[in-house]
């Protein structure tokens, strides 16, 4: 989920800082987060016009929210979050909307995988080849760095 959020948000926002801190300081699966980050960075790139439109709509097309955004913009630190950028706002909303479904979806997927397919997949030839690759060794190293 952290990877998804970091992937959908750009690094040039203050929103990214707490996410990074959580990633660095808390025992989460770093390898999974990095993979998630890359996947959602790609999705974010492809969905850029959609996220921009979503952000513009929320920021500019809803008059009722103008006061709220103005109040946020007048705070000391909040503007550094660049919430007024259409892409960041769009990414933030998309990440918030996707967070819960993604959490449950991925969780069910992993449980299902572990119960039904893990043993069979481990014996696939392609997986054995991949396990011997440099990328796998690197990701294993990252995972160990994460304390798992």
């Amino acid at each position: 989920m952290l990877g998804m959020m970091l992937g959908l948000l750009t690094f040039k926002t203050l929103f990214a800082a707490p996410l990074f801190l959580i990633l660095i300081l808390v025992n989460v699966n770093l390898a999974a987060a990095i993979v998630g980050l890359f996947i959602f960075r790609l999705i974010g790139y492809l969905a850029d016009p959609l996220l921009h439109s979503l952000g513009y709509w929320v920021l500019a097309d809803i008059p009722g929210l103008k006061g709220f955004w103005t109040a946020l913009a007048s705070m000391r630190i909040v503007p550094f979050a660049r919430f007024n950028n259409t892409l960041i706002m769009g990414g933030l909303i998309a990440a918030a909307v996707l967070a819960i479904p993604l959490f449950w979806g991925v969780k069910r997927l992993i449980i299902g995988y572990r119960e039904g397919y893990q043993e069979r997949v481990k014996n696939w030839k392609i997986i054995k080849i991949l396990k011997g690759s440099a990328l796998f060794r690197f990701m294993s190293g990252v995972e160990k760095l994460g304390g798992r």
């Binding site: 750009t10 300081l25 513009y56 103008k66 913009a73 007048s74 000391r76 007024n84 950028n85 892409l87």
Partner: protein, 630 residues
């Protein structure tokens, strides 16, 4: 808690502090250069930028901003500049500078290296203000009406045939387009006219009116039925009449537009004529046009430069001042920033006081103050004001004052410039060949004022050159011996030059006036040698234009007259017949009224007679009864 993560953060923090203290200045310098270059569209170079994060002060020893239109020249360069950033606004990402000291400002300095950006990157155009564009176009159009005189006319070498071959008349095409437009318009009208009630409708109306037989109305029921039928016929007639009058009124409206066509065609022909004269350098010689011919182009060029700056200011103010920008389509990954600021909040950028010293391209040392250079004047409720002054060792001096006020919906800009004591030696005043000598002496004083308010524009320029002398040894190539002699005679009469120019634009009305004390001198000189040739050439050209365009014009006029007459006749005829039917309906109604009245009288009369009879009968019976009783 992960130990590795904590160590990683500490290492990163230490690295940031180290890099900040060592490389911030260079990094900042590069960022400022990059930002400036991208904004200007040419190289912007800072030297020795020094930023102190403790007291938030920034200074540099030099700044060079390349002119994007001439990358071997600097638009301006500065010497030492220093300012402090206010802390509180900075926390809100607002740049507020109380005092900005700018020294060594110089304009138009040459560059040692090319200032073009690598890869030919150009600044994204902000787009010129439409009002400014309109004023510029009007000025240029006016100047083109009075081109420099074709000397061939004085030397008898103007060849009308070859001139005519180069001419591309615009009127025939415009007239043809107009004709096609009217043909299609009249076709539409004919379709509408076909909707008018015609012969069958009239015959039906007449038949229905005649179907009411007055002499057959005997009972009240029959009278009511006749009234009802007449009412239906009248409503139908009224509907027809409404249609006719609607078409008639529309036609009258349309005709009002069409009436102006003849004048429009004449104006097009006049435009063509003036264009040909301008192209050939054969302006109408009048006192009015002489000063424009002499100085118009130079004044226009200077005006254009000023307008360009005003346009930039307006366009930029409009861009940064806009609260919610229109949706843009930024490149992937960039997004679009929407600004949200409170009214009492700081503007994004504000230099409260800019003190500058420097030198103009003419070597005049200048100094002054610019107040409130700001991204949003409404936030601070103050306009930007400029006050500059300066002098040179030889006594030349200048004063400049400006106000840029974008607080209201209607932006206002006002600039006043005074130059005095500028030597004229070595300069040429005009490209007009008779006066195109370098000046051998003289001193000039100039006053200029520009007042821009919304789309209204007023500019006034006054020039006075005293003790003027011409270096007549530099004979212009265009002058043969005879013309040179004429030119010398003109020049000898000039020892002072006074020029007054004004440009006014209010809405669509535009007026350019240029007058000088040289007008009469030049006009007299030209008239002395001007043969009848100019008039002959002008008449010849006029006749040829009329010959070329006359037929097309007659065709359009005939089309308009013929179709107009047809449409008018058709509507009038329909209207006349409907009025006729209306009269018949009214007549029929009166007949029914009379018939009903007659019937009423008859019935009343008969009733009264019957009543009388009954009364007499009763009296007789009563009398008989009384007699028998007695």
């Amino acid at each position: 808690m992960r130990k590795q993560g904590l160590i990683f953060l500490i290492v990163v923090a230490a690295l940031v502090i180290f890099l900040n203290s060592v490389v911030t200045d260079r990094w900042l310098e590069r960022r400022m250069e990059k930002f400036g270059s991208r904004s200007i569209g040419a190289k912007v170079e800072f030297s020795r930028v020094n930023f102190s994060p403790l007291d938030l002060s920034l200074n540099w020893e030099g700044l060079k901003v390349t002119d994007p239109d001439d990358t071997w020249t600097n638009l301006f360069e500065t010497g030492h500049c220093a300012f402090d950033l206010a802390l509180e606004p900075l926390m809100k990402r607002k740049v507020v500078i109380e005092d900005f000291d700018l020294q060594g400002l110089r304009f138009g300095t040459p560059r040692k290296t090319d200032g073009a950006l690598a890869g030919g990157k150009k600044q994204k155009s902000l787009g010129q203000s439409k009002v400014v564009q309109s004023v510029e176009q009007n000025i240029m159009a006016e100047i083109e009406r009075y081109p420099l005189l074709n000397l061939g006319i004085l030397q008898g070498t103007v060849d009308v045939d070859s001139l005519w071959d180069e001419v591309a008349l615009e009127s025939p095409e415009r007239i043809q387009a107009l004709k096609e437009q009217y043909v299609s318009k009249y076709d539409e009208w004919e379709i509408r006219i076909a909707d008018l009630p015609g012969e069958p409708e009239m015959v039906t109306l007449e038949r229905d009116i005649d179907s009411i037989q007055i002499d057959q109305i005997d009972t009240p029921q029959e009278a009511k039925a006749s009234y009802d039928l007449l009412q239906t016929i009248e409503e139908r007639n009224r509907d027809y009449y409404r249609t006719v009058t609607q078409i008639r009124d529309d036609l009258i409206m349309e005709r009002t537009d069409i009436t102006g066509v003849k004048g429009e065609i004449d104006a097009w022909i006049e435009e063509d004529y003036q264009r040909i004269l301008a192209m050939a350098g054969l302006p109408e010689l009048s006192r009015e046009g002489i000063a424009t011919m002499l100085f118009g182009e130079r004044i226009a060029n200077r005006m254009e430069k000023v307008l360009h700056i005003v346009g930039r200011v307006r366009t930029y103010s409009r861009k940064v001042g806009k609260y919610i920008p229109a949706k843009e389509f930024p490149p992937r990954g960039a997004g679009q920033d929407i600004r949200f600021t409170r009214e009492q909040d700081y503007p994004l950028f504000w230099i409260q006081r800019l003190r500058l010293t420097g030198e103009t391209a003419q070597g005049v040392g200048i100094g002054g103050t610019v107040l409130h250079v700001v991204s949003d004047q409404q936030k601070i409720d103050r306009p930007t004001t400029i006050q500059l002054g300066g002098a040179r060792a030889d006594g030349a001096g200048l004063d400049f004052a400006g106000v840029i006020d974008g607080r209201d919906d209607v932006p206002k800009e006002q600039f006043d410039l005074t130059l005095k004591g500028f030597p004229l030696e070595g300069r040429t005043l005009t490209d007009f060949p008779f006066l195109a000598y370098p000046l051998s002496g003289g001193v000039a004083a100039v006053t200029g004022r520009i007042d821009f308010e919304g789309s209204n524009f007023l500019a006034e320029l006054g020039f006075r050159g005293t003790d003027v002398g011409f270096d007549t040894l530099h004979r212009p190539d265009a002058l043969d011996d005879e013309l040179y002699a004429l030119s010398l005679a003109m020049v000898r009469r000039i020892d002072e030059i006074q020029l007054a120019a004004s440009v006014r634009q209010r809405g669509d009305d535009f007026k350019l006036d240029i007058e000088s004390n040289l007008d009469d001198i030049v006009l007299d000189g030209l008239k002395q040698v001007m043969s009848d040739e100019l008039q002959a050439v002008q008449e010849e050209l006029s006749e040829r234009i009329e010959g070329e365009i006359g037929t097309a014009r007659s065709e359009v006029e005939a089309l308009i007259t013929e179709r107009e007459a047809y449409l008018q006749k058709a509507t009038w005829e329909a209207e006349r017949r409907l009025i006729e039917q209306h009269t018949r309906i009214e007549q029929k109604r009166e007949e029914i009224d009379s018939r009903v009245k007659a019937e009423e009288e008859r019935i009343q009369r008969e009733a009264e007679e019957e009543l009388q009879k009954q009364r007499e009968k009763i009296e007789d019976r009563g009398k008989g009864l009384l007699d028998s009783l007695l």
